[in-house]
Structures are given as C-alpha cells and as structure tokens.
C-alpha cells in the first residue's frame, strides 16, 4: 500500500499565503485609520472612559492588545499540538499513527511564538499589563495599590520573563528531541525509537500539565490584575486544546483532499471529529463551572470579571457569540455520527470553532487591557489574518521538510486499517 505523497510546499501556496498576509496588513492599516479618525460611536464611549479612568487612549494600545491575543492563541495551538503528539505516544495510540507528522509540523511555530512573545511584552508591557507600572508599588504614590503590591513576589518583570523564557525553552527542547527521535525512526525502524518517544512524551505531558497552568496565570490572569480564579489554568488549557484539535483536523482534511494522505480513512477522521466534539463539551463544562460558581457566590471581587463582559455594550455580543461558536453550534452540529465522519461537515465546524476560541481569547484579554476603548473591527480581523498566514507558512514549510508519514511507526498498520 502506498503511504501517500510527501507534502510539497508549492510556490503557488506561498503566493496565496503572501496575498493573505498582505490582506491582513491592509486590514490592520485600515483598522488603525478607522480608530484614529474614530467613528462617532466609539468616540463617545472612549470620551466617557477617559474621563473616568484618567488616561488617554491611543490606537496602538488596541493594536498591542491584538498582538497579545494572537500571541497567546497561536502559542497555545502550537504547544497543544505537541501535547497531542505526546498523548498519542504515552497512550500508545494506534489510530493516529498515520497523522502524527501534522502536530509535529504545528510545533515548529514555537520559536517564532517565543520571539513574538518577548517582543510584544518588551514593547507593550505597560499597555497590556497594568501590574508592570512601578508606581503601583510605591507607598508614597497616590496610585499605590496594596493588593497588587501583595502580588509583587510573583508579578515582577524579571521573574515573569524568566518563567516565559523557561517555558518556551523547555517546550522547544522537548519538542526537538521528539522530532529528532521520530526522524531517526524513519531511517532506522525498529521499536527502540518508539519506546524512547514514549518516555520523552511522558516528560512532556508532565511539563505541559504544570506550565500550561502557570502560563495561563501569567499571560491571561495577570491582565485583570485584581481578579483571580483557580479555574483559569484549566480554562485556558481547554480553549487551547480544542483549537489545536480543530486545527489538526483541518490540516489532515486538507492534506487528504490534496491527495497527500489518501490512506487516512473515515474512521480516523471520525476519531478526530469525536475529539473536537468531546473537548468542545469539555470546554463548556469548564466555562460553565467557573461562571456558575462565581455567579452563585456573588462575591464582588470575582463577579466584576463577568460584569465587565456581560454588562458592556462592546463585549456582551462576543460573550454570547463565544458560547454559540464553541458550545451550541459544535454540540448540535457534530452530534450525529455522519457529521464527524464526513469532511465536508468538519470543514464547516472546525473553522467556526477556531474562530470561536479566538473570540474566547479576545474576551479574556481585551476588556482587561482596553476597558471601554475596545472594539471589534478591521484591526482585529487584520491582525488575526496576519498571524494565521505566518503560522500557516511556518507549519507548511515544516510539513514539507520531512516525510509526511512516519513510515516505521510500529502502530502504523493499526492506523491504516482503523475501523470503528
């Protein structure tokens, strides 16, 4: 049986991505101009806001906010793809053996994500993270904040940056080891590489379990500096994880339709669909648990987070859109067996879920950064498109750099004949 064609990153595809990239840039620029000139509605809101919160709003704050959303979102998709890869080895899964090179390609975004993270944090830390302002910790300053001062041992720039650097370095190192081992398996065959991959993957799972939570505290929770929720770590994980699964599914489908992964049968597609469905429900479970407990206990320090979102004219529509895209739609649409087995259904569901989780991160970041100056327009779409084109470029280039199928994977036969 032929094991598909290796993927070739054609210049035509590169051109398409370049067009996408330029379109994103264009939209972003249009977005910036629209904010600078300001349409009447936003101006009213921002005037009100600037009176109450004593600071001037600039367009670049919204731009930075968008960069951060996409940084966290795409980092999450990338690192969770490596988590998917690791889970497959740790669970000794057979069904997925034919597609493991796709999450491997997605992990190649990590170094770029790292640079972008450092860059955006370096430039925009004061605009995104309230806690980075020195005056908050100065008892003599009228803006002194006792609560934030109490978090100083954790929320300070050197410690924050070292955590960020540490996470990316460990993630990328383990990722490189996994990839090297998988490549060697292609050449040498045998079981030894597979057994080694099992061990490294177990290490990665442990690392990911801890770092994904701490990263969520750093990159998401600390934006709303006063607010806290023990669930946030697993909430961010759930969102990352579903997005990653939806992305893997989409790439697998695209490659299958392109003729590269002919041997991926409907049962494998079905399993991917089940994953997307099940973890959409899992995300909802986590969302609902956090929301219900905060709503029910009605403690002002906690409810403020939802008040800022549900009672805001800017964010309330997205609050509901988030639930529609990430729960109601996938739950109803992917409920039947057929919709999880047929690519044309998944091609509708996965992009909506991916957009839904982008909205999810938009909602986690924007209200805390921009307060009433937020919005959703050309800039949000533009920056997302720019990131998407870059992400796809890196992933597809990585995909074309090695064999598309791990031909010596000891479980490959199971994947080829997978039948449920």
């Amino acid at each position: 049986m032929s094991l598909g064609k290796d993927y070739i990153f054609k210049s035509q595809t590169k051109k398409q991505l370049l067009i996408l990239f330029s379109l994103g840039i264009l939209l972003t620029i249009v977005g910036i101009f629209m904010i600078i000139n300001g349409d009447s509605h936003h101006e009213e809101v921002s005037n009100l806001a600037s009176e109450s919160s004593h600071y001037e709003f600039h367009w670049y704050q919204r731009f930075f906010s968008n960069l951060w959303i996409n940084n966290v979102y795409f980092t999450g998709i990338s690192v969770s793809a490596v988590f998917f890869l690791a889970i497959q080895y740790v669970a000794q899964a057979g069904w997925s053996a034919g597609l493991i090179r796709i999450p491997i390609a997605m992990g190649s975004w990590l170094p770029y994500a790292f640079i972008l993270m450092l860059l955006v944090f370096g430039i925009a830390n004061h605009d995104i993270f309230h806690w980075t302002h020195e005056y908050l910790y100065d008892v003599n300053d009228y803006r002194y904040d006792a609560i934030i001062d109490g978090k100083k041992a954790y929320l300070n720039v050197p410690f924050y940056l070292s955590r960020m650097i540490l996470f990316f370095v460990i993630w990328y190192l383990l990722y490189i080891i996994i990839v090297k081992e998988s490549d060697k398996e292609d050449v040498n065959g045998g079981e030894t590489h597979w057994r080694k991959l099992f061990t490294i993957s177990a290490v990665f799972v442990v690392v990911y379990a801890v770092t994904s939570s701490v990263a969520a505290w750093d990159w998401i929770l600390s934006i709303d500096t006063h607010w806290f929720s023990t669930m946030i770590g697993w909430y961010v994980f759930a969102s990352w994880w579903v997005s990653s699964l939806a992305f893997i599914t989409l790439i697998v489908i695209a490659l299958k339709e392109n003729g590269n992964l002919d041997f991926i049968n409907h049962s494998v597609i079905h399993d991917l669909g089940k994953f997307v469905f099940a973890f959409s429900v899992f995300w909802t479970y986590i969302w609902f648990s956090q929301y219900l407990l905060i709503y029910y206990a009605h403690i002002p320090e906690e409810t403020i987070y939802y008040v800022e979102r549900v009672k805001s004219g800017i964010y309330a529509p997205f609050f509901y859109l988030n639930l529609i895209c990430n729960f109601f739609f996938p739950f109803l649409f992917l409920m039947t067996r057929a919709s999880k087995r047929h690519t044309r259904f998944l091609k509708i569901a996965c992009p909506i879920i991916l957009f839904g989780h982008f909205i999810d991160f938009y909602l986690m970041v924007t209200p805390g950064v921009l307060k009433d100056n937020g919005g959703f327009g050309f800039m949000e779409i533009g920056v997302l498109v720019v990131y998407l084109s870059l992400f796809l470029f890196v992933v597809l280039r990585s995909l074309s750099s090695r064999r598309l199928v791990a031909k010596n994977h000891p479980m490959l036969e199971e994947s080829l004949h997978h039948d449920v």
Binding site: G150, V206, T230, M231, W234, K274, I294, E301
Partner: protein, 459 residues
C-alpha cells in the same frame, strides 16, 4: 478488518480458549462457598452489626450522638459521603469512558468495578440520609412532591437538592448498565446449570437472564443499549462529582468557594475509585486465581491512571494554595495558611503525602508492576482521599469568622460506628456479588480473546 500491532502485549494470558473462560469464571459461582469466603463474610456481617448499633442510636437519639458542634456542622458524615461517592466513579469511568476510548483492557475489570460503584453509591447515600435526622420525612425534604403543607417546596437553588437528582440518576443508570452487562453471563451460567442438571440454579439464573437467547439480533440490541448507556453515563459521571463539589463551592466560605472544584473533584473521584478497584481486584484475582484475566498489565495500566489523576489533583492543590495567596483576600489566605499550619496540619500533611507523593512512586516500572507495592499504595491513596475531604470540610469550618466561635471537631464512637457500618455493608455486598455473580464479563472477554490473546500472538 481489525489489525493489531505486533508490539502490543496480550491482555489475556495463559492461552485461554473460549471454553476456559466460561469454566474459569462460572466455576466460582457454581462451587460451594469456600471457608475463607465464609470467614470474610462473617467479619463483614459483624462490622455491619456493630456499625448497625451506631446507626440505631443515631436514628433513635438523633444526630447529637455525633461529634458535630455549632461551628463544625459537617464533618465525618459528609467526608464519608464524598469519599464513597468518589470511589463509585471508577466503575463508570472504566465501563463508559474507557469504552468510548476503546480501551480493551477495561473488559477484565469492568464488572467488578461497576458492582463496586453501585455498592459505594449506596454507602454514600446513607450519610446524607441519616444526617437528615428524621429520614422518613426525607421524601418531603428532598423530593419535589406536591404536598399537603401548602406551598412548601424543596429548594431548587440548593446544590444539595441537585445532589439528590444527580446521584439517584447516576445510581439508576449505573445499575441498569451493570445489569444489562450481566444478562448474557447469567445465561451462560443458566445453560451450564441446565446441562449439569442443577434445576434450582438453572431457574434462578434463567430468571436473572431474562430468557436471553443469544441470537444475533439479541446481541445487536445488547450492543446498541451498551453504547447508548455508555453515552449517558459519561456526562453523568462528570456531573455527579461536579455537583458534589458544588455543595461546597457555591458557598462563600473561604476554602470552599473556589472555581477549580468541579474538575478537581472529578479527577480526585477517579483517583480514589481506581485505588479501591485495585484494592478489591488484587485480592479477588489472587483468591479466584484470575491472574490470566487480570494481568500485571491491567494493574500497571490502572496504576498509570492513578499517577495521572493523582498528579492532576496535586496540581489542583498547588493552584488552590497559589491563588489563595495571589488573590490578596485575607480570608482566603488565612483559610489556606490555617489548613497547612493550623491544628489540622497533620490531616493536610497526610493528604499531601498520600495523594500527591505516594502515587509518584508509580513512575518506577518496578513499583507499578509489583503487586504488593500496588496493594499498599492503593490503600494509602484511599486513606489520603478520605483526608482530602476531611481537610476541605473541617479545616474550612472550624475557624469561624469570629474567634469566639472557633472550635474543633472530635468524632464520637458513633461517628466511627457509622463509618464501620458503611464498610460492613460494602464488603458484605461485594462478597455476595463475587460469589453469586460472575466477577468478570465473560462475554466481553471472549470477544477480545482472538485479537489480543497470547496464542494468536505466538503464531
């Protein structure tokens, strides 16, 4: 065509044939009760009887017999309740969630685990029922029945009421799931009894098997029902412990109100449940010589589930501690400071040592494939999970907002007696089950004999 990779180890060893499976499992039901079984049953019944006295005094004299006081209004009873409900979760996880994940190793252990689920849920239900005091009025307090007291209704906004619905639904579905799985095996025992001319047991097992005929159509219905029930049981198993966690987390009590509770409780429940399954199965497989069905591989896989869930619970503990500090809320900070360093530090320490540290030993293959070590750690984990609930409940309550209301909880002999009673019931029920019902799902094990059995591999 189903293909199995060569590197997979067989799940059933010893070159068993289909006939061997029927023989090995059914023989336990057909044999006369052994002396060791009778002794074990005797001990369980004594526990039930002694504990029964505590239940009697509680019912007759009221819950004042327990060690509860004005500050600590929930202690052993709710600790035991949550502990038992949690233990129940493993059965459903094994039979439903592992079914959805196509984990074939579940087939040797699901029967016993599901039986354990049912008995554990009954044990759990005892505690809130007895805590009601006059439990014969429970119908009006817990069930939304139209009643003659006018507009008196149950409090639908209370998670305690959600518990009633969640646990009763969970119990019903688990019972049906378990029983449906038993039907084909009852039929096997019936057929063997007919052949051997044992008319009484033939008629009893015939009735229990609902006249199962083994036709292809019947099997197809059986499989459909199993899948539907698995689909139903999966959200149920999550919802039950989620709602149990909400008994605490919907409140405003520092130490109780924390958003991570629902998934963290579910992970903890699976953790303790697997520990109890291990404790029971290690004994069962030894006594019944089932080493070829419940192999070291099975034990190893269960130990891996214990590492994973134990570590999830560990991350949740750390998250709670960190966020309590990070929140800057003095009450939160104090609640956790008191938990770790206060008068109940030993309970917190036991919890950490048993739940987070001890399962990490399973990272060593030598330990996770060692039966004695597994048995000891499984008990340690069960102790730890009891302490976890005790820590959450009692340490959050005993230091009230006003220092003049601070108190401690000291259990009375009746608290201990009630706990003993639940153990007595649990072991009596499990012993009766393991004697009169087939402890392994013969029909399912036969279905995996061919693709994963040892003889097939050797060819």
């Amino acid at each position: 065509m189903h293909v199995e990779s060569k590197i997979r180890t067989p799940l059933i060893t010893g070159g068993k044939t289909l006939h061997d499976v029927s023989n090995d499992i059914s023989r336990r039901v057909e044999d006369k009760p052994s002396v060791s079984w009778l002794i074990a049953l005797g001990i369980s019944l004594i526990m039930l009887l002694v504990g029964g006295y505590a239940v009697y005094r509680t019912l007759w004299d009221g819950i004042g017999m327990w060690g509860l006081n004005k500050t600590v209004g929930w202690a052993w009873d709710i600790t035991n309740f949550v502990w038992w409900v949690g233990i129940g979760h493993a059965g459903t996880l094994i039979s439903a969630i592992l079914l959805l994940f196509r984990q074939r190793w579940r087939m040797s252990i699901n029967r016993a685990a599901e039986a354990m689920t049912i008995f554990a849920v009954i044990c759990a239900a005892m505690f809130p029922l007895l805590h009601m005091g006059r439990l014969w009025l429970g119908f009006f307090w817990a069930l939304p029945l139209p009643n003659t007291y006018g507009s008196l209704w149950v409090n639908f906004a209370s998670p305690l009421l959600w518990d009633v619905f969640a646990i009763s639904t969970y119990f019903s579905v688990s019972l049906v799931f378990w029983y449906i799985g038993l039907i084909p095996d009852f039929a096997t025992i019936r057929d063997r009894a007919v052949k051997a001319g044992r008319t009484i047991s033939a008629s009893i097992y015939g009735a229990l098997s609902f006249g199962w005929d083994g036709a292809a159509k019947t099997w197809s219905r059986y499989e459909t029902v199993a899948l539907v029930l698995a689909g139903l049981a999966t959200p149920l198993v999550l919802s039950v412990h989620t709602i149990v966690s909400m008994d605490f987390a919907t409140s405003v009590i520092p130490g109780w109100h924390t958003t991570i509770f629902p998934p963290y409780f579910v992970a903890g429940a699976i953790f303790s449940g697997f520990a109890m399954v291990l404790t029971l199965l290690i004994i069962t497989r030894k006594v019944y010589n089932l080493e070829d069905y419940i192999t070291i591989k099975h034990l190893e896989l269960m130990n891996i589930v214990i590492i994973v869930t134990g570590s999830i619970v560990g991350i949740a503990y750390i998250t709670e501690l960190f966020i309590a500090w990070y929140s800057g809320v003095e009450y939160e900070q104090y609640a956790f400071y008191n938990r770790v360093t206060g008068p109940y530090w030993w309970a917190y320490f036991s919890m950490m040592a048993c739940n987070v540290v001890s399962p990490q030993l399973f990272w060593f293959k030598k330990i996770r494939t060692n039966i004695a070590a597994t048995f000891i750690i499984s008990i340690v984990v069960n102790i730890g999970m009891w302490f976890e609930r005790f820590v959450i409940i009692v340490t959050s309550l005993h230091r009230d907002y006003i220092p003049s209301s601070w108190g401690m909880f000291y259990p009375t002999i009746y608290d201990v007696g009630m706990y003993l009673f639940s153990f007595g019931f649990f072991f009596t029920a499990y012993l009766l089950f393991s004697k009169y019902f087939p402890v392994i799902n013969m029909a399912e094990v036969k279905s995996i004999l061919k693709p994963t059995g040892e003889t097939k591999k050797n060819k």
